[in-house]
C-alpha cells in the first residue's frame, strides 16, 4: 500500500504528462506483478465490489474521527471527496502498512462473508494502521469512484514502454471483463495474444468535433479546406443513442457500451438478431428506442437505462433497435485494418442476410455532392432525430480511441435560452468548496420556474466571480444548496428538449450547459417558459 499511496502523491505532484508517465513506470517497476494488475484494474475503472455500504463506512468514519455527524457533512462539502474527507478527519497516525495492494484488495473481497460487527472491527483496525495518505487511497478502494486524474491512455503509454508492446495492442488487451485475480501480468504482456477471452471488445474509434464550439462556425468552404474532396468522404447521421459494440463468438453474444460496461442483459430484444449473426462477428453501432420503425429521442431511451428489472410492459412500450455503422470482425478475423468502404460492404452483406431487418438497421449513407449541399442537409438533423452529421474517410482503417483526421462529428448548433441562476451548490474534486453547480430558471408570469441544472461552460475566472456573488447573495440555505438572489443571467445551451412529467417546468433538456454569462441582460429580460415550450416542436 505504501507504493500505491506514493503513486497517488507523486501523480498529484506534477501536471506534466511526461513526468506522470515516469511516475507510472516507476510504480510498475517496483511492485510485484499481481499489484501491477490490480493497479491497472483500478486505473481502468475495474473497482473491487463494494463490500461495506457507504452509510456504514461513513458512520464508522464519523466515530473514528470523534466529531458530530453534521460537522462531518460540512467537512465533506468543503473537501468535495468522501474518501479524502475521512482521511483528513481521522486522528493522524505515524504508522504505515507493509501489506501489498493485492493483499488489501484480497481482504476487502473477503469481507462479503463477514458480519457487520466483524466488518467494523476490521475497518477500524485497518484505519488505525495506515497513515493519512494510505488511508486516502484505502478509502477510495472501499468507496469506489477512483478518479485519479490520469487517463487510461497515459497508463497504457507507460506500460507500452515497459513491455515493448504497442499501445493499440495493449489498449485492446485491457478491454473486456477481466479481473486482476484471473488475468495475469504474464498473460497481458505475452507476445502473441492468446485471445481466450471471447467477450473482449475492441477499443472504440471516436470522432473528433469538426467545430470546437457553436461560436466557431465552420462554413462549407472551411470544410473544403480542412477535409478536401467530397468524394473521399462518407456521410451519415450522428445518432443520439447508446454507442455499443455487439459481439457474437463461439455461439455466445455480448453487448458492450462505450463505458466498457457489459450490457447484454439490458437489451433482450436484440438477442435474437445477435444470435443469428455468423460466429466471429463484431458490430459497432448505436442502440436507440424505436417506434414504428423510426428512432425516438434520447429521453425515451433514458427511461429504460438504469432500470434493474426490465418488465414486460417496458419492453413492449419502449423497445430498442440497433443502427449499425461498422463491422470490426468478420468470420473471426479482425478487419479493422480494412478501409471504411470495404468494411461498409461487409456490414451491408451481414445485414442483408439477417432475418431481423427491423431490429438490425444500418446507418444509411447520406448522398451529397458538395459541402454546401451537406451543410443544408445538416439542418434537417433534428427532424431525423440525429445530433448532426458524421464524416468518415472512405479509405481509412478503424482506429483506436479519439484520433484526429478520419472520423469527424459535425454537430448541429445547440438550442438556447437566457435564464436566471436561482440555486447554487458546491462542486467536487478540483471545484471543491466553490459554488460551481447551478440551477437556472425562466419566467412564468412573474415567477421564476427552475428548468435546468448546469455545471460546465464557465472559465475558472468566471466561476470565482459567481462563487463570490453566491456567498454574498444567499437568501436561504438548504443543506449544501443555497437559494441565491435572482440576478445573474446566463445563456443556457442544450441539444434537445422534451416534455417531462417529472420536472416542475414540464420539460426536460438534453445536455444543458452554460454557453456564456449575459452580463448585458437584466434578469427581467430572461426568457420565459413559453419560449421553451415553443421549442418543443423543433
Amino acid at each position: 500500500m505504501r507504493s500505491f499511496a506514493q503513486l497517488f502523491l507523486s501523480l498529484d505532484e506534477t501536471n506534466k504528462t511526461n513526468e506522470k508517465i515516469k511516475v507510472l513506470q516507476n510504480y510498475f517497476n517496483c511492485v510485484p506483478d499481481s499489484d501491477k494488475m490490480h493497479m491497472l484494474a483500478l486505473f481502468t475503472g475495474r473497482m473491487p465490489k463494494r463490500q461495506i455500504n457507504a452509510t456504514l463506512v461513513r458512520n464508522w468514519a464519523i466515530e473514528a474521527s470523534n466529531i458530530p455527524a453534521w460537522l462531518f457533512e460540512e467537512s465533506y462539502h468543503v473537501v468535495g471527496d468522501l474518501a479524502e474527507t475521512m482521511a483528513l478527519l481521522m486522528p493522524q497516525n505515524a504508522g504505515s502498512s507493509s501489506k501489498t495492494l493485492t493483499e488489501w484488495i484480497g481482504e476487502i473481497n473477503d469481507l462479503g462473508e463477514k458480519t457487520e460487527g466483524e466488518k467494523k472491527l476490521w475497518l477500524m483496525e485497518s484505519w488505525a494502521m495506515l497513515d493519512s495518505s494510505e488511508r486516502f487511497v484505502f478509502n477510495k478502494l472501499l468507496t469506489g469512484g477512483f478518479r485519479v486524474g490520469v487517463s487510461q491512455s497515459l497508463v497504457i503509454k507507460a506500460l507500452s514502454e515497459i513491455t515493448g508492446l504497442d499501445t493499440p495492442t495493449l489498449t485492446h488487451r485491457v478491454m473486456g471483463n477481466w479481473m486482476p485475480q484471473t488475468y495475469s501480468y504474464a498473460q497481458l504482456v505475452q507476445e502473441q495474444d492468446a485471445a481466450d477471452d471471447i467477450s473482449r471488445p475492441y477499443p472504440f474509434f471516436l470522432a473528433y468535433p469538426i467545430q470546437e464550439t457553436s461560436e466557431k462556425q465552420k462554413s462549407a468552404d472551411d470544410l473544403k479546406t480542412a477535409l478536401g474532396e467530397e468524394a473521399e468522404w462518407q456521410a451519415e447521421w450522428k445518432w443520439d443513442g447508446i454507442r455499443a459494440q455487439m459481439i457474437k463468438r463461439n455461439g455466445k453474444i455480448f453487448i458492450w457500451s462505450r463505458g466498457e460496461d457489459l450490457a447484454t442483459d439490458k437489451f433482450p430484444e436484440l438477442h435474437p438478431f445477435l444470435n443469428t449473426l455468423p460466429d466471429g462477428t463484431v458490430l459497432d453501432g448505436e442502440i436507440l428506442s424505436f417506434k414504428n420503425g423510426l428512432p425516438m429521442p434520447f429521453n425515451v431511451l433514458q427511461t429504460r437505462i438504469g432500470r434493474k428489472n426490465l418488465n414486460k410492459k417496458i419492453l413492449e412500450e419502449n423497445p430498442v433497435a440497433v443502427i449499425a455503422y461498422d463491422c470490426l470482425e468478420y468470420a473471426g478475423e479482425d478487419i479493422r485494418y480494412k478501409t471504411q468502404a470495404e468494411r461498409r460492404l461487409v456490414l451491408e452483406q451481414v445485414q442483408a442476410s439477417s432475418p431481423y431487418p427491423g431490429v438490425f438497421n444500418i446507418s444509411k449513407l447520406i448522398s451529397f455532392n458538395t459541402w454546401n449541399e451537406l451543410e443544408g442537409i445538416r439542418g434537417q438533423s433534428r427532424t431525423m432525430m440525429a445530433e448532426g452529421i458524421m464524416l468518415k474517410r472512405k479509405n481509412a482503417p478503424y482506429q483506436v480511441g479519439r484520433k484526429r483526421g478520419d472520423w469527424w462529428k459535425w454537430k448541429i448548433d445547440p438550442l438556447s435560452v437566457d435564464a436566471v441562476m436561482i440555486y447554487a451548490q458546491k462542486g467536487h474534486g478540483r471545484r471543491a468548496d466553490l459554488y460551481t453547480d447551478y440551477t437556472f430558471a425562466v419566467w412564468d408570469g412573474d415567477k421564476l420556474v427552475p428548468f435546468a441544472k448546469a455545471y460546465s461552460g464557465l472559465t475558472d475566472q468566471e466561476i470565482n466571480k459567481v462563487d463570490h456573488f453566491v456567498k454574498r447573495n444567499t437568501l436561504e440555505k438548504f443543506g449544501p444548496v443555497r437559494t441565491v438572489k435572482p440576478e445573474l443571467v446566463f445563456e443556457i445551451g442544450f441539444e434537445g428538449i422534451n416534455r417531462s412529467t417529472r420536472h416542475k417546468s414540464g420539460i426536460a433538456l438534453r445536455f444543458p450547459r452554460i454557453l456564456r454569462w449575459r452580463h448585458d441582460k437584466p434578469k427581467e429580460e430572461a426568457d420565459t417558459l413559453e419560449t421553451l415550450r415553443a421549442l418543443l416542436g423543433t
Binding site: 458530530p68 468543503v78 483528513l88 478540483r430 475566472q461 470565482n464
Partner: protein
Amino acid sequence: MAKKPLLEFTDKGICCPQGRFYIDPWKPVDDAVITHAHADHAYFGNKRYLAHELSKEVLLYRLGDIRLQTAAYGEKVIKNGVQISLHPAGHVIGSAQVRIEYLGEVWVVSGDYKVEDDGVSTPFEPVCCHNFISECTFGMPVYQWKPQRGIFDDINSWWQSNQAHERATVLVGYSLGKAQRILQNLDLANGKVYTHGVIENTNEALRRNGIALNPTERITPETSKEEVRKGIILAPPSSVGTTWMRRFYPYSFGYCSGWMAVRGAKRRMAADRGFVLSDHADWDGLISAIDATSCESVYLTHGYTAVFARYLNEIGYDAHEEHTLYGDDEVALPQPAASENETEDTIRAVDEAPSFAGAQASGEEGLPDARQQDLANTGGPA
C-alpha cells in the same frame, strides 16, 4: 437592560465607543488600532494609527505617510480612559492581538494568529479575557497542520531535486509573513535566495525595522537565469502565471498555503507542489487558543464562522458569528486564484458576508501608491 458592550461591530470595523477608536477598520476613522500590516486589516485613510513597533516600517511602506504611534508587546496605551495593549499573535512579524480593558472588563481581538512558533514571528501568547474576538480562517476539522520542520524538510529536498534536474525552483507565498518564514527556514547550504520585487521591498522594510533576515538578492531584468536556477526564487501569489515567472522556464513551482491541505484546492492552483504551510491556526490550534483565554464569549469574524460557531456552542462555549471584511480583500484577483492580498483567501474568499455587499470596493479605493507600484512591477493585477 445590560450596559453597552465595550466593543461592538459596526459597518466601519470593530469599534470601542468608550475609547473612541476602532480596531482594523475598513472605512476611514480618526483612531485605528492595527493588528498587523496585511491589506485586509490595515486600510489606508485613517487619521491616526497605533500598531506594534515591528509593523512600523512595513506600514509606512504600504500606507505611505501616515501618523503612526507604535508600542511594544505588553506596553499600555490609554485612550479616553480605555487601556490598550498589544500581545504576540504569531501570525507574521509584528502581528498583535489587541487587549482592551475598561473598568475591569477585558476584550481581546485576535486579528490573525497561529499557535505554532514559526521561528520568525514572536510566538503567540494566550491572553485571558472576558470576550475573545477570533478569526477562524481554517475553522474546519479537516485542517490539521503538521509541524513546520517536516514541511521545510520537504521543501529543501524538493529544491535539491530541482537542482539535480537543472530546473529553477519557484516557491510562492505571500510577501509579508510567509516569505520571511520560508527565508529563515530554508537550508541555505543549498544555494542563494532570490526574491521578487514585492517580497524584497517588504524584506527591506523589515530590515529597516531591525529584523535580521537571511541574505536575499532582488531579481531584476539583468539577473542571470542560469544563476537563479542554482538558487531558489521566492515569489508572491500575484506572479503565478505571469511572464515574470515564465521567464525562469524550466522551473518547478511550489505553493505554500494552508489551503493546499485539500486536493481540490491544490489541483485548482495547478502548482507542481503544494506545501501545507499556513500562518493561521488550524482546527485544534483555534480551539486550544480559545480555551486558553478562559473567555466567557467568543465572536468569530472571518473564516468558517457559521460552522465553527455552531461547534463551539455544542462543546459549551458562548460563540457568535460576526460579519466583517477581514479575509475578504478582493483587490486584484489574477488567475489562478492568486493575489497580493496577503490573506490566502483568493482561493476561497471568506464565506458569509452578504450584508456588506455594498462595501466590497472599499479596499480598492484606498490602494496606496507603494502597493500600486508593486502591482505594476508584477505585470499588474488581471
